[in-house]
Symmetry: C2
Subunit: 427 residues, 2 copies
């Protein structure tokens, strides 16, 4: 049976989808009983569409797609939260199924989108919004449903993982790593969404919502990027047996859920530590399944298109067999978000301090005063000046207490010589 | 809506399922709209069932389950291909959905089982048959359907991975590693199914059937275990930058598909190389998605029960929503199996030969005669006797040619001092 689809957006991912449709149309008929017919393609850029063989099906007005009564599935691949929202909401209101790769939209307006889909009796699928081609949303919504998920941790931004890999393994500076990533096309001219952790924040909001059955939006996520990760700290981490990754973490505790993106020290033996370069991986801990990890290419035309077209085929399979939506919004609980100051985890803190008697004792006093228990303190680097680097590892402590320690030590003008570094630690 | 289930088998996995049902029943109602009611439990062992809180629902006759008209889903967890076959086939004939963890049954009688399910209009789900709790069958049947899958490689037997980890990293002998695995409960008293690669063979038959849309049964799989892996070869591998894993490999080429289980040398940077101990991982390469990997616990009550109960919930969700089976047998192609002698891969071969002039030249002649191109040859170990170890790495060669090389060198009585080692190499 023919299923008619309309595609909006012919950039990298859209182009990948057009290639898959061209190469595998007959395979899908044979293996899945689904005859996909691409009825119309919308793009601001006719050249892109033509390059992928789109001819008279081309339009520059997305209304030609959402108003076409024949089209059953709309694929939205333009990104952002303005026009994309109109396309997605418009298609749903017109009773069409929607497949999207749009993390920003799903992480900010997910609730609205699911409500519209529910009213229209159609499906919304968004596997490509997190982790490129890696199946992770589908496993969370299906295979892993027997679990209470306690933690999701992901390397979900390829750009920063590439940069941290180059900085950590090959000793590039932040600036050089960024320049190289831009030259290779891994980073945008304005890298802010990647290096400030905003891209990862949208993705972990989506994953947390599904994993914990409770709505998490972009604004619930604490986001700290990699701009302040220094070579000194990368070296210290390696010496202590840790890698440094920009992790997106969602964690359930008795107090609620904490959802955050920040540079994180991970033991080198941890599976996520060996995920290097532009690869992504998502690590999921469930009460029955234990530890699992899903690894793959986080970006690139083929990987993301694999996820988009997997969703299209799944929805199309339902259309062909007359199956109504099986899984809609999964946010059936409403768990509190633990504020960042109440976070409990382990910390690495490095201070550059005056190299003289009594400083260590003074600092120890500040840690003790704020109930932050120190696991180890190591003096690092060569003694060339009158200052010295002290790298502290704490036991599990409360974020606000750690902040108080840092603030108080910052007051000690004659002790502190530079801005302290703080990296949270997972084991 | 209530969905009535019957469970056959209360061993490790069955016990895990009973625990999940007890702990999460209400969560499933709230999150999935599925009210699972365990109507009857069958076991040879009443104590096991009682230990998990099964009382008057207990029976020792599985007919009480397959003949109960109220039961909608039957969970088969007794394993093997005799009684289990009667339970599975009987349940399907009685029009019940079946969830099973039975790799041996699925790998030998999959076709029959799917035909019965199709006739009865019911589902068969078997995620737990491969990789314990790791979602892999579901992603292959859903998220990754837009791809032509070219390769599936897995560490799918935790026992042998534990043993190889201990032998490779901690220099235990095969016998000591086996004894330790048995003491820890990772290996059976008769370890043959694990160490001879038969367990892995059943699993890769299942994965290959799905990945390539073409039926592969147990008898199509070449299986070679780890009994002959020597410390000398593990050491050589490590020095050359490789790990040694018992890999289950399914690979598509122009000639067809080759499906095999054997010790394999993998570059240390490969994601599968860092999968140690009893963990499992399955590596999938698709034309669009590129490289992906699915990692987790391959055994244990919780992990396997997570997969079983995930299947049960998925089927129950369909029952509740009145959805007929969406995906049945996926073997819509019929690809030829490439016979092992036609396999083309790279090889590590170690010979213990006489340490005298001319031997290297003689050996080189034999390799050349059979068109096996040598990439490197390294002399290994200390010279204590009149013999020396020569470790060859070949370029891609044909298995039958490599066999001919070994056979011909074996004929050289005055050259060869011990049985040669052969390990296939993936990069």
């Amino acid at each position: 049976m023919t299923v008619k689809i309309g595609l909006v957006g012919t950039g990298t991912v859209g182009g990948g989808c057009l290639d898959i449709l061209r190469d595998h149309h007959d395979d899908f008929v044979r293996h899945l009983g689904v005859d996909l017919e691409l009825v119309r393609v919308c793009s601001r850029n006719p050249e892109q569409a033509i390059a992928h063989g789109v001819d008279d099906r081309f339009t520059q007005d997305y209304h030609d797609i959402i108003n076409d009564p024949d089209i059953q599935i709309v694929i939205e691949l333009i990104g952002g939260t303005t026009v994309a929202a109109d396309v997605v909401m418009g298609a749903l209101k017109a009773g069409k199924h929607v497949v999207t790769a749009n993390k920003a939209l799903m992480a900010t307006r997910g609730k609205e989108i699911f409500e519209l889909a529910d009213q229209a009796g159609v499906e919304v699928a968004f596997e490509a919004s997190v982790g490129g081609g890696i199946p992770i949303i589908d496993p969370l919504k299906h295979s892993l449903t027997a679990n209470r998920i306690d933690k999701v941790m992901g390397i979900v931004n390829g750009t920063t993982n590439y940069m941290l890999t180059r900085m950590g393994q090959d000793h590039l500076s932040y600036a050089d790593a960024l320049r190289e990533a831009q030259q290779k096309g891994f980073a945008e001219a304005d890298p802010s969404a990647d290096v400030d952790g905003l891209d990862a924040a949208a993705k972990i909001a989506i994953l947390a919502s599904i994993a914990f059955n409770s709505r998490v939006t972009m604004s619930d996520v604490y986001a700290e990027g990699i701009r302040n990760v220094s070579p000194l700290d990368l070296e210290a981490a390696r010496d202590m047996g840790y890698s440094v990754k920009l992790l997106a973490v969602a964690h359930r505790s008795d107090e609620g859920i904490d959802v955050r993106v920040h540079p994180t020290m991970l033991p080198l033996e941890h599976q996520l530590s060996s995920v290097n370069g532009v690869y992504n991986a998502i690590y999921v801990v469930g009460d029955a399944v234990g530890e699992t990890m899903f690894f793959g290419e986080g970006a690139g035309s083929g990987a993301a298109a694999s996820a988009v077209m997997g969703d299209v085929l799944e929805v199309a399979r339902h259309v062909v067999r007359g199956v109504k939506p099986i899984v809609g919004c999964t946010c059936t609980d409403s768990l509190p978000i633990v504020p960042m100051e109440n976070l409990k985890t382990k910390y690495y803190i490095r201070f550059t301090v005056a190299d003289r008697c009594g400083v260590l004792a003074t600092m120890a006093g500040v840690f003790a005063k704020h109930n932050v228990s120190v696991r180890s303190v190591i003096q690092r680097g060569k003694k060339q000046t009158e200052s010295v680097n002290l790298a502290y590892m704490t036991h599990t402590a409360r974020e606000s207490d750690v902040r108080d320690v840092i603030d108080e030590i910052k007051q000690l003008d004659d002790v502190l010589y530079a801005e302290p570094s703080l990296i949270r630690v997972e084991d």
